[in-house]
């Protein structure tokens, strides 16, 4: 291989890296340009605070933002203790055979397609919820339960990995002092992996925030402020999927770019926060 060829190839690699990074800006740019009429008219922030009522020509999205926040936060709140418990089982508490089995199951879970969770949710979970709570069944609770199952594996694997990263000498020290397994978990492993737990939480939040199908299939998609667990709600993601069929010159259609921009900005901020917390840890 000649020198010139080497240089050309290096430049090609660089070009691809740059182009791939450019995609991030391209995606944002596209949404910005198509949502521009909103931003120009000063409508963007209006949209964030107005209700959605197409018949009156008002296309605000705050109910969707509330729906997204309710579903994502609740599922993280449900999933967090569940994941912490499972991760503790895998790394510390359970006998090795069960721990290995649980780890395998959790890894397998990450491979289950989202749409399958949604499908089973419709035909298995919703009738149960309907029976128990006498509602329509399509509600925040159903979506939250399925979403909890969907995001838990991510958290469990991340938690148990950061539990396993605790230096062996610390563990040995507890063992030689005669500490029990629970003491080991509470006083050594958990404090040592606080950072990993926080990161796992944020990743799971991002995942819950960006999920489309579970909310679309199970939450009922009614545009309203969610008041209780049994209310129907619509998330930003589901809103995009539902409105996409509209005429693409209309203001109604433009408003989904406001949803897109909101989602994009939120996940970006989340990533930046993760990055910042990693940097703080290093020195």
């Amino acid at each position: 291989m000649t020198k010139a060829f080497e240089t050309v190839l290096e430049k090609t690699f660089f070009f691809f890296a740059l182009a791939s990074a450019g995609v991030v800006i391209l995606i944002f740019g596209f949404m910005l340009v198509l949502g521009l009429p909103l931003i120009k008219g000063g409508l963007f922030f209006g949209l964030l605070t107005q209700p959605w009522s197409p018949h009156h020509g008002v296309f605000g999205i705050y109910q969707m933002i509330a729906g997204t926040l309710a579903i994502a936060l609740l599922s993280v709140i449900f999933a967090f203790p569940l994941s912490l418990g499972c991760a503790a089982l895998i790394s510390v508490l359970a006998p090795p055979i069960f721990a290995g089995f649980l780890r395998k199951v959790v890894q397998m879970m990450t491979g289950i397609p989202t749409v399958v969770f949604g499908f089973v949710g419709i035909f298995l979970l919703i009738p149960i919820v309907r029976e128990v709570f006498n509602g329509g069944g399509m509600c925040i609770l159903s979506a939250v339960i399925m979403l909890t199952l969907l995001i838990s594996p991510t958290m469990i694997l991340f938690f148990s990995e950061s539990f396993d990263r605790v230096p062996k000498s610390y563990i040995n020290a507890v063992d030689s002092l005669g500490g029990t397994r629970v003491q080991k978990l509470l006083y050594v492993i958990l404090p040592c992996s606080r950072k990993g737990i926080l990161t796992g939480l944020m990743l799971a939040l991002g995942r819950a925030f960006g999920d489309t199908l579970i909310a679309l299939m199970l939450a009922g998609n009614a545009v309203q402020m969610p008041g209780s667990l049994l209310d129907s709600a619509r998330t930003l993601t589901a809103h995009i999927a539902l409105v996409i069929a509209a005429d693409y010159e209309s203001l109604e259609f433009k408003s989904i770019f406001a949803c897109g921009i909101t989602l994009y900005l939120f996940t970006t901020v989340l990533i930046l926060m993760l990055r910042a917390s990693e940097r703080k840890e290093k020195p």
Binding site: A21, M108, I112, P113, V115, L149, L186, L263
Partner: protein
């Protein structure tokens, strides 16, 4: 420490484990209980002869073969688009980039990985609208647009697995060929890439799984409920995950619903299978993909 609290914590953890395992077995068991009977050749091919269908001699009308064919072409297309770009970027990041460049670029890739798939779908849709308005009236949301969008979706995973598997090679492997007089590029192609192949391949397989299961992106970029086997890059197409989604809300009779269960089982098996292969090939590196961030 209080004994009671200790027991409570142990009991609580076991409860978590049992709830998780129990509910996942409920989900899979329910699917099989309801749908196992539906999984047979006629679910896929309807009343058409399977060989004729695969050779595209006859159209399949009441089977999910078109959906499987659509998903297959979608996966091939998007992986073919994403792998070269992902490999090149990964190699650049691992082998060439200066520290500061690397930091900036990987921040971008982290952001790309974090963008919700529906937003990427929205981008794909706007791309189609843009091309339709400015270049050609013939471009609508179609197979090609979906392929490009899905390629963007899995690009960061491929970049990251390539980078990580290259970077985790031991110094000895890294230096031997160079010490013998190999150039940097020769070293990469003849030593480093072959050595890290297992990691890269497992990343690609998981990317295939991600393309096969994603519904949000294709929903906005051209998938339809009935289109037959895709004829060209610019045509509508069917896909397995969308078929499942569609059936769940629009099924007309129990027969159709049953085929929805069947399709779910097939998709589940497909993803589990890909996942197991990828995992068998490379245990460690899969973590990036497992977290799906």
């Amino acid at each position: 420490m209080n004994r009671v609290i200790e027991y409570l914590i142990i009991a609580g953890s076991w409860l978590c484990g049992i709830v998780l395992v129990g509910s996942i077995f409920c989900i899979i068991g329910y699917l099989f209980f309801k749908g196992a009977a539906a999984v047979n050749l006629s679910l896929i091919f309807g009343r058409t002869n399977p060989i004729d269908a695969i050779l595209l001699k006859k159209q399949v009308f009441n089977g999910i073969f078109p959906a499987i064919a659509g998903t297959f072409s979608l996966v091939v297309l998007s992986v073919a688009l994403a792998v070269p770009a992902g490999l090149a970027s990964g190699i650049y990041l691992a082998e060439y980039a200066q520290n500061s460049t690397k930091k900036v670029l990987s921040l971008f890739f982290d952001i790309l990985a974090g963008i919700p798939s529906i937003v990427i779908g929205l981008f794909g849709f706007s791309l189609a609208v843009f091309l339709h308005k400015n270049y050609s009236d013939r471009i609508y949301p179609c197979l090609l647009i979906s392929g490009i969008s899905l390629a963007f979706l899995v690009l960061p995973y491929i970049i990251r697995t390539t980078q990580v598997s290259l970077e985790s090679l031991p110094m000895q492997t890294r230096l031997t060929a160079v010490a013998l007089g190999a150039t940097k590029l020769q070293n990469i192609f003849y030593v480093l890439l072959p050595q890290s192949l297992s990691g890269i391949v497992s990343g690609v397989i998981l990317a295939v799984g991600r393309c096969a299961e994603d519904t949000a992106v294709i929903m906005l970029t051209g998938v339809v409920a009935s289109a037959g086997v895709p004829k060209s890059l610019f045509s509508h197409y069917e896909a397995l995950p969308f078929y499942i989604f569609y059936i769940s809300s629009q099924y007309a009779d129990t027969q159709e619903l049953l085929s929805g269960y069947g399709a779910s089982i097939i998709l589940l098996f497909l993803c589990a299978f890909l996942f197991l292969i990828a995992f068998a090939i490379q245990k460690r590196l899969c973590y990036q993909m497992l977290y799906r961030v």
